[in-house]
């Protein structure tokens, strides 16, 4: 059956867009063909530096003829309805057939020739192609990623004739820009096309280009006893930059090997797109590189190697310069610079963020067995390298450079490692930190990010996650699970929130205070300040108690009119300001106290306030939890979702995860242990049978609940019941202590084993006891509820499927 070959030939397509373009081309073509009733036997697309190609096998030369039935208006419908229908169907009324009181039209549609359909398809694809960025060129209105030069379109070896904005379809394409005869050639089907490209030095298939690159690199390496440092991302990129990829090995001045290998590799990769190599069987880099040229040069690549070597030298000289300058500076001046670097408009500067991470890491340290002082110092230094020249040039080396510099400056090894590793894990394949100090700083770093963006309502939605919060949450989960850390997230989140607000409010309050001291009270507080004071939770809680907020609001209104200080209103405003100003100063002290617990409260102006503040400080975590209760709930469920994703990726059943989550525990390690125990239990016969029993019991309870509230309280020993009743009562009684004990020891498998003891009695009870016996209904319902409750201590079995 006929074959369709389409090639969209353009100027150089950005490498990063090629893979997606091949997918989009395939998807769009399949959709268009399917809409025309075609189902190609095979369809494949290719993308390369200058062309997108599609080949579809097994298309008919025309659509099959089709019969369509159209349902028209009812007999006796208004004439307008009939007219409309006839117009739509393109028929006259006498061509309609009456069926069951409705006019029907039977239309025979002649199948259209495939070339017509293909021509429409190509035009639609070209005009609607979802390039991430597209452009116009010359005098055309057409958009494409770069100028589109030719369209090759043949069906069954015949050109499908059409033109899109002056670009006429044909059966001609061209090969490599510089190699071969550089003449366009004719291709009437895919075999001719593939052979023609090969003869004209173009490798069509990206997979073949990648293979060619790897093979070439390995051959070059082998001859010199070198090994390629493989880099999948770079391979993908360079495979999109050359039609005839040809590895060329060049030399690097060995003097640069004293730079950290990450620096050399990053410089090679980001600036020059070179592969690094190492001596076979050795760790460090070898003084060579491999560039992937687009030509097989007449001189064997000598000029290319020499030219690239020179460029690399100047790049690495820059890197060496950055290193030399950086080690002259050091951490402290960098930390000062972070003062001027905004992290986020609403979350303060990097320096403020560092302060928060220090506070939080200090809280986490004891939970993970890390030295508190070392942890705080590591946290304090962790972000310093952001101000270094090297990280300015290569942002992806953040942390890594900090670690190198820390060691160069002779800092403690645990601190240096924590500085290096605190961004980890940066993706699913990245290792998590395991050293206690690193763990504490890495958790604090991620929690500060998560809590901060949740508090300012920048939560991820759908596919939008601009601050990579999902990655941060997965990082937290992996660190906690892989290190088996027993820490509840909620209190840590609250601590992080307290640190966040103390730190942000304090800075702002100091600024306001400074203005008051410097400019006096009149006009020194701006409306913006007032807005801030009204919104800050410290202020909100504290100023409200004697109506100062109202005063502030009045002042805000007064400030909108022009008020002379001498006027009556002016004097009133002035009076109003005095207490407000003093309060703000006190407030600054209060917040300072939260920030630094060693601060004396006696500095507060109002004696009354000292009392109040003392109480408030104790109460702050509660205030925060209350004020941000919605954010914290969102935070919890966000984490729950992330954890579910993690567990599901590990093959855990989704419903089991839900059943455990319903208990409201937020110790991740415990949650996972419960899920695992539950999973194991439900695979046993006892588990399956008990599960069925639970469902039955719970259905009875649900049905009875609809009639009225269930009786509450412990079931009584059955006075003269059947064996089944006595057995279940005893089983429940016997179960109580060991179940509680197992749960207390977090031995969830043990707890499940205890529950397994209920299997027989529950089954016998449900089979042999009539629950709704009017005389015993109350106690029997209490018994079933006791079963549900006992099991409910382990998981919410009601959420388990099956």
């Amino acid at each position: 059956m006929p074959q369709l070959l389409l090639e969209l030939f353009s100027e150089e397509i950005p490498a990063r867009m090629q893979a997606q373009a091949a997918k989009d081309l395939e998807r769009m073509a399949r959709e268009h063909l399917a809409a025309a009733g075609f189902l190609p036997e095979a369809l494949k697309t290719f993308a390369g530096p200058r062309r997108l190609t599609l080949v579809a096998e097994g298309l008919p030369l025309a659509q099959a003829d089709r019969k369509e039935e159209l349902k028209g208006p009812r007999v006796g419908a208004p004439p307008q309805a009939m007219e409309g229908f006839l117009r739509k169907a393109g028929l006259t009324q006498d061509q309609l057939v009456e069926r069951d009181g409705v006019y029907m039209a039977f239309i025979e549609k002649k199948g259209r020739p495939t070339p017509e359909i293909v021509a429409e398809m190509v035009e639609a694809i070209v005009r609607n192609f979802p390039w991430p960025k597209s452009m116009t060129w010359g005098t055309k209105k057409l958009r494409w990623v770069r100028p589109l030069k030719r369209i090759l379109c043949v069906l069954d070896r015949e050109v499908v004739p059409f033109a899109i904005e002056g670009i006429e379809s044909g059966d001609i394409t061209e090969g490599h820009r510089f190699m071969g005869d550089a003449q366009p050639f004719v291709a009437k089907d895919f075999d001719e096309y593939a052979a023609g490209l090969e003869a004209h030095y173009v490798v069509l298939d990206v997979e073949e280009r990648k293979e060619r690159i790897l093979e070439g690199c390995k051959t070059l390496c082998f001859a010199r006893h070198l090994e390629l440092v493989e880099d999948q991302g770079l391979l993908e990129e360079v495979a999109g930059l050359a039609e005839w990829p040809t590895p060329v090995l060049g030399d690097m001045d060995p003097v640069f090997l004293s730079l950290p290998s990450e620096v050399i590799r990053t410089s090679m990769r980001t600036h020059q797109k070179y592969f690094a190599v190492r001596k076979a069987g050795e760790q460090g880099l070898a003084p060579h590189f491999i560039t992937i040229a687009n030509i097989q040069a007449a001189d064997g690549g000598a000029v290319i190697a020499a030219g690239n070597a020179k460029v690399l030298s100047s790049r690495l000289s820059d890197a060496r310069f950055f290193w030399d300058e950086d080690v002259k500076v050091g951490f402290e001046p960098w930390l000062k610079k972070l003062d001027g670097v905004t992290f986020h408009a609403k979350l303060g500067t990097m320096a403020q963020r560092v302060e928060r991470i220090v506070a939080l890491a200090g809280e986490i340290a004891p939970l993970v067995g890390a030295d508190v002082e070392k942890t705080k110092e590591a946290a304090r230094l962790a972000k310093a390298d952001l101000a270094s020249q090297m990280v300015g040039e290569f942002p992806e080396l953040q942390g890594i450079m900090g670690g190198y510099y820390a060691r160069t400056f002779g800092l403690d090894g645990e601190i240096a490692d924590a500085v290096r590793d605190h961004y980890k894990p940066q993706g699913p394949s990245d290792a998590v930190p395991t050293a206690p100090v690193s763990v504490a700083v890495a958790l604090a770093d991620k929690l500060d990010t998560l809590v901060g963006f949740f508090a300012i309502d920048e939560k991820p939605t759908g596919s939008k996650d601009p601050y990579a919060l999902r990655r941060a949450a997965l990082g937290v989960i992996r660190i906690i699970l892989e290190n088996q850390i027993h820490a509840e997230l909620r209190p840590l989140a609250v601590k992080s929130l307290v640190a966040m607000h103390a730190n942000l409010d304090s800075t702002r309050l100091h600024a306001i205070w400074g203005r008051i001291e410097y400019g006096g009270l009149v006009d020194s507080i701006s409306d913006e300040d007032i807005q801030f004071l009204l919104q800050s939770y410290f202020v909100d809680r504290w100023l409200n108690f004697d109506g100062v907020v109202d005063d502030l609001q009045k002042k805000s209104k007064a400030a909108h009119g022009v008020v002379s200080p001498d006027s009556e209103v002016g004097t009133a405003v002035l009076k109003l300001h005095k207490p407000v100003g003093e309060r703000i100063i006190d407030l600054a002290y209060l917040v300072e106290r939260v920030r630094d617990p060693s601060k004396e409260l006696s500095e507060l102006t109002h004696e009354n306030d000292v009392k109040h503040v003392r109480a408030e400080i104790e109460n702050i975590p509660n205030i925060v939890a209350e004020k941000f209760s919605k954010d914290l709930r969102d935070f919890d469920s966000f984490f729950a979702d992330r954890l579910k994703v993690t567990l599901r990726d590990q093959g855990k059943r989704h419903d089991l995860v839900d059943a455990v989550f319903a208990l409201g525990d937020d110790d991740l390690v415990r949650i996972v242990a419960r899920v695992e125990a539950l999973d194991g239990f439900l695979k046993t016969d006892d588990g399956k049978t008990l599960m069925a029993g639970y469902k039955r019991a719970s259905n009875i309870l649900k049905a009875e609940e609809k009639k009225g509230a269930l009786p509450t309280g412990e079931p009584q020993a059955p006075a003269a019941g059947s064996d089944a009743e006595v057995q279940l009562f005893d089983a429940l009684r016997v179960l109580k202590a060991p179940l509680a004990d197992a749960l207390a020891r977090e031995d969830f498998t043990g707890a499940m084993a205890q529950l397994a003891g209920l299997r027989g009695p529950v089954d016998a009870y449900l089979d042999g006891v009539f629950v709704n016996d009017p005389e015993h209904r109350d106690n029997r319902l209490k018994t079933l509820a006791a079963v549900r409750d006992a099991m409910g201590q382990v998981a919410d079995f009601g959420l388990i499927a099956g």
Binding site: E11, E12, P14, A15, R16, P49, K133, S134, M135, T136, W137, G138, T139, V145, R146, P147, K149, R177, F178, M179, L241, A242, V248, Q272, Y274, T291, A293, N294, I295, A297, A298, D299, V303, I304, A306, G307, N308, K310, V311, L312, S314, G340, T342
Partner: protein, 299 residues
């Protein structure tokens, strides 16, 4: 005009002039106001706009006050030359024309590795952006190749293609020189004596660097910037023979832009202020751009 391989910085320029002249471009001279890039010459920024065809090539001295290194860095200059080509509408074979220019200056395209690597160009101070590439020769960026999509916030239609060659860097590569100051400025065999790039420009780099980093009075720069800013709309409000004075107004925008660069080099612009200064210049540029387009379309 000889068509041999160039042997000096100046013959590289002459070769490019000769090449683009043969392609039909008008060969312009530099604009006489300090600019940070060849693009800012009115022959590119303004002529890219409006419906009329325009094909020109020129050398433009470019000033980057913050890049001065007192002549001590072999690759970095606060004053250097860009070779600029603008083709509107861009011809179908513009890439071939460009590659022809590389051959003209002596690069053998079957020996060197020429690559077009994605680079989306933008210049926020003139509200301009386009798509194109950095052109690499053996791993070194030798040109910027852009299809202008917008200038002064206005769509460029028809589209203008722009080529920018960093002349010093290109020359260093072609002549195999590691230090810009060692470049032969004229023919090394000149009967009147060989002169290097350093002999022409080293002292200029030293003095200008000192002025850029320490010499200019920030208060004066700021005042001049504000004066220019105020003058642009006033100049645009004046007209001659029914046309707003857009060309003098645009010169003032260029001056404001250079004054901003000088203030920046003096470290007088806080990070937070930067965006607002750039926005102010862009607004002025947009005023000029729309006035220019109105005149072009009316003509």
């Amino acid at each position: 005009m000889s068509r041999e391989k160039p042997k000096s910085f100046q013959s590289l320029i002459l070769t490019l002039h000769d090449y683009w002249s043969r392609q039909g471009c008008i060969i312009l001279q530099p604009h006489d106001v300090e600019v940070g890039a060849g693009t800012l010459h009115p022959a590119t920024v303004l002529r890219a706009l409006g419906p009329k065809p325009w094909n020109a090539a020129y050398v433009q001295p470019s000033r980057r006050p913050g890049d001065g290194r007192y002549g001590e860095n072999p690759n970095r200059l606060q004053h250097y030359y860009q070779y600029q080509v603008i083709l509107k509408p861009n011809p179908e074979n513009m890439q071939d024309l460009y590659l022809g220019s590389l051959e003209a200056i002596g690069l053998d395209l079957r020996t060197h590795d020429i690559r077009f690597v994605e680079d989306d160009w933008e210049n926020p101070t003139v509200g301009a952006w386009g798509l194109g590439w950095e052109v690499w020769c053996d791993g070194m960026e030798v040109s910027q190749y852009t299809y202008f999509q917008q200038v002064g916030g206005l769509d460029v239609s028809p589209v203008a293609g722009e080529l920018t060659y960093g002349l010093e860097r290109l020359a260093m590569y072609v002549f195999g020189v590691d230090n810009v100051y060692d470049l032969p400025f004229n023919d090394p065999d000149s009967p009147l004596g060989a002169t290097t790039y350093g002999e022409v420009f080293l002292e200029n780099e030293r003095q200008q660097s000192e002025a850029n980093f320490h010499g200019y009075d920030v208060a004066v720069l700021k005042q001049q910037f504000e004066q220019m800013e105020q003058q642009v709309p006033l100049m645009l409000a004046r007209s001659y023979q029914g046309k707003a004075l857009v060309l003098p107004a645009y010169d003032m925008v260029l001056k404001a832009s250079h004054l901003f660069n000088l203030m920046n080099a003096r470290g007088a612009i806080a990070v937070a202020e930067r965006a607002s200064y750039i926005g102010r210049i862009r607004d002025l540029c947009k005023l000029c751009a729309s006035a220019w387009v109105d005149q072009q379309e009316a003509a």
